[in-house]
């Protein structure tokens, strides 16, 4: 479905270059969910937006459904955008407060010239809103009248309006309460099954990512640290960063004995990333050559890859 090859996204300011995404390659197969995790500032949202061509990548290649879309012009992109969409984190900021729900969803249909017949269009909007578990009566209302979970449902209805095949979910449940999170996660899974969708699921909540993803990619300062099937990553993390990240997840069991791998310090500034392996400043297993040589992403087992000098 989607294939990234050495994708780079650098932001230039007058004095600095921020390498937000610095050479990321992976594939996403049709119907699967790839979870993308990492600390804030690691480049995961930038990567998601790059894939949708909301940014023009600095280098590398993005292939979507077999077609190179890396440098397409906006007119050529429009039909492709119908097939790939994004769900944003903040359901409060991503709906226009001055438009009724009805118009918010209709706008998406109009932009892509779908359902030109007024009656059919209205039927489609009603169908979409019930697909995401809301009653058609809500259509005449405005965004401020809804709770966070309901707004996220409306956002999902708008995305689904144009029948995308691939959806980037950028922290779709982070702003929601626990019980509402579960409702939205279930909705996303039901829709995936019903409509055969493919997801790139970006989140920092590792338990939610584990629950929803078939495979997981771990990012650190613009690079992949590790990628592989979800259960393997959680049961047997290879990269020291993945190990530390997982051991920091609070376990909802007061009897659990925790062996936390301590990471000292914080994510280094992406303005001035460390040389060699970018993780060496916080790594408990750091070796002398980690400070100079960048570890390549190597194959480890059938479908796992890791970028660390500890392997093979």
């Amino acid at each position: 479905m989607l294939s990234l090859n050495d994708l780079k996204m650098h932001f230039k300011s007058r004095h600095h270059i921020v390498k937000a995404v610095d050479g990321v390659s992976f594939d996403i197969a049709e119907g699967e969910t790839l979870g993308l995790v990492g600390e804030s500032g690691c480049g995961k949202s930038t990567l998601g937006r790059c894939i949708l061509r909301l940014y023009e990548p600095t280098a590398g290649k993005i292939e979507f459904e077999g077609r190179d879309i890396t440098h397409l012009k906006s007119r050529q992109l429009n039909p492709i955008r119908r097939r790939m969409q994004i769900i944003f984190q903040d359901p409060y900021a991503s709906l226009n407060p001055r438009m009724s729900i009805d118009n918010i969803i209709k706008e998406a249909l109009q932009i892509h010239g779908l359902f030109p017949n007024k009656k059919e269009r209205e039927e489609r909007v009603a169908e979409l809103i019930s697909l995401v578990g809301l009653r058609p009566e809500v259509l005449s209302r405005y965004p401020h009248e809804f709770s966070g979970g309901q707004r996220q449902r409306i956002g999902i209805a708008r995305v689904l309006a144009i029948e995308p095949r691939f959806i980037v979910c950028d922290e779709p449940v982070s702003a929601l309460d626990v019980s509402i999170q579960a409702q939205i996660v279930n909705l996303l899974q039901d829709l995936q099954e019903k409509l055969k969708l493919t997801y790139l699921f970006i989140a920092h909540d590792l338990m939610i990512v584990k629950h929803i993803s078939t495979r997981i990619a771990v990012m650190y300062l613009g690079n992949l640290a590790e990628i592989g099937p979800s259960n393997q990553i959680y049961e047997d993390p290879k990269h020291p960063y993945t190990q530390a990240l997982l051991s920091a997840v609070p376990v909802p069991d007061p009897g659990a004995k925790k062996q936390r791998i301590k990471l000292t310090g914080e994510l280094p500034s992406p303005l001035n990333p460390p040389a060699g392996c970018k993780f060496h400043t916080r790594c408990p297993y750091v070796m002398p050559h980690c400070k100079t040589i960048v570890p390549p992403l190597i194959q480890l087992g059938k479908d796992r890859k890791v970028a660390c000098h500890l392997y093979p």
């Binding site: 804030s40 019980s179 409702q183 990240l245 376990v251 909802p252 007061p254 310090g265 914080e266």
Partner: protein, 320 residues
């Protein structure tokens, strides 16, 4: 021995559409040297409870309708404001969720910490600043002497939260109220901050009221748990009981809606529906419309908080 006792506290707010009772008859104790977790979803009254203890509810629109907050042998709600100011930031401190909005952007962090020390401990400015630098060391900020000269915008989120903690702990409080102290932070930094708070608790023996919606954090740090729903305490017990034998259907629902750690279910269990509007509360139990254990009686009379097992309180007619 309790550090603080909240007894039948009710707080009301005047709004354009009527009076809202944000918390209604809330009672619980914070034992000395222990951490109590206060959990619940947005709008359930957690933060109002916390602000009440600090007596920071703005009036109008809010006012304390009923109840007492016993600290030491005094009722904080009847204390004159001058005495309250002496306690606030000194014996009782608070850490807020969003460090960027609670630090003053035009003063260096060293000065901000020193301000509270000078105010409460009656020391000179220079000594206050020295103590502030010591506090920054204590919360694990590297090269604290230089960092004390930084402005809040020059620090990362994790660093700012450490500064907030340093400020809250500067006068060795015996009660710390932490309102979602790690919600805005990454898990790795969250783990560092929680560990730091526990270490400092062991060292200076303070009591902590930890307000959070993350049950994982609660399991790792609290000894008692109070669960709130729509302004009411619906269950309270020690942490093992809450996680292993919860009684109230809301607590059960909250625990079930978290993705499992070990086994993987296909679907997450959810609590259907939404939190009721405090202006239009249903007759009877406030959780009835979302409850899978609902019986007829729930729709008529609201249950009282009763002791269902020793030291295990729940507000339910038909508990698990």
């Amino acid at each position: 021995m309790n550090s603080c006792l909240i007894d039948n506290l009710s707080v009301e707010f005047k709004t354009d559409n009527g009076i809202i009772r944000a918390i209604d008859g809330v009672s619980f104790a914070i034992p000395k040297g222990k951490t109590v977790g206060l959990v619940g979803e947005s709008g359930c009254g957690k933060s109002v409870t916390a602000l009440s203890i600090m007596r920071l509810i703005k009036s109008p629109p809010g006012h304390y309708a009923d109840g007492r907050i016993i600290y030491g042998d005094e009722d904080l709600l009847t204390l004159p404001e001058s005495n309250m100011r002496h306690l606030r930031g000194n014996r009782i401190s608070m850490i807020f969720q969003e460090p960027m909005t609670s630090l003053n952007p035009v003063f260096t962090v060293g000065n901000q910490i020193a301000e509270s020390i000078c105010l409460h401990q009656n020391v000179k400015r220079k000594e206050g600043l020295e103590r502030a630098i010591h506090m920054l060391d204590l919360v694990g900020i590297p090269s604290s002497r230089e960092r004390a000269k930084s402005y809040p915008h020059e620090l990362s989120g994790g660093m700012r939260q450490r500064v907030m903690i340093a400020m809250a702990l500067a006068c060795d409080p015996d009660l710390l109220i932490a309102d979602e102290p790690t919600t805005a932070l990454d898990v790795t930094i969250q783990a560092q901050i929680m560990e730091l708070m526990q270490k400092l608790q062991d060292e200076i023996g303070m009591s902590i009221l930890l307000i959070t919606h993350d049950l994982g954090v609660v399991a790792g740090t609290c000894s008692e748990v109070v669960v709130m729903y729509a302004g009411r305490v619906v269950e309270k017990a020690d942490v093992h009981t809450i996680f292993n034998a919860p009684k109230h259907p809301y607590t059960v629902g909250l625990l079930n809606s978290m993705p499992g750690v070990k086994h993987k279910e296909k679907r997450l269990k959810t609590i259907p529906g939404l939190v009721p509007d405090l202006l239009h509360l249903p007759q009877g139990c406030r959780f009835q419309d979302r409850c899978d254990h609902v019986i007829n009686k729930c729709r008529q009379i609201e249950p009282e908080l009763t002791e269902q097992a020793p030291e295990h309180w729940a507000r339910c007619y038909n508990p698990y």
